[in-house]
Amino acid sequence: MGRWNCTNCYQKNSRKKTRCRHCNTPCQVMEEESVMAMEMESVMAMNTESVMVMEADAVMSKRNHWREDALVDQEYDQLFVMEQESDEVIWIKDSCNVDVKTTDNQGAVSLQVGLQLAIALVISISLGDSEQGRAVAQEIFQKFDDEQTNRQKIYIDNSKDVCIHTTDTDLSVNIQALLDVLLTLVVKIDVL
């Protein structure tokens, strides 16, 4: 969300950029209106609700503030954080002999961070700690820029001998995907 593709080299660019970070072509894809909408969106993310009433020129000053020419912009760090939210409510009432099993995904999250670090490490070793290396790492993690929300409500009322198992499969697919990318990277640089 909020990125634009360069018309010249198809490079994906952050919405904070007014020029392509690859070939420096000015952004032509976004209409002025949608640029404003994007800015509003990102500003809202920063300042929550109070920005809802922000004047257009205030938004413009924010835009000028962001007009810098770094090759790798701030989103590099941001993308390391995957948004995950798991809500679980288990309600057992007037029941007996109830068996509820839910997976604990804390381990999965740390595994995921381990994989992300490994990918960054492999890139940094093989390409060096250069702008190029950082750009590659950023782009690879960009593909994993996802939000996951799992909400579970289990309500057991007036029951007997109930057995419930739940597993957070989304997360394991995510981890497998990261592993696939790591393996592919490693194969490409002839290590495996």
Partner: protein, 67 residues
């Protein structure tokens, strides 16, 4: 890769990585030659370790709580 069910088809991941390299003008041969044997060994160990961890995780659901 093993017989485990793939999260994303191999070709997709392969294309993704190649495409990112191409777009950023990465010379893979250059990168290959830069790596020392020691580094390659370290990476190999790291990848094997993570791979086995992921496989263990995916195969059996981890700790569960009982009520």
């Amino acid at each position: 890769m093993s017989e485990r069910q793939e999260a994303i088809p191999n070709k997709v991941v392969d294309l993704l990585v190649s495409e990112v390299f191409r777009k950023n003008n990465v010379n893979i041969d250059n990168a290959k030659s830069k790596l020392t044997d020691e580094q390659k060994r370290a990476i190999r160990e790291l990848v094997d370790e993570l791979k086995s961890q992921v496989e263990t995780f995916v195969k059996e659901s981890p700790s569960s709580k009982k009520e």
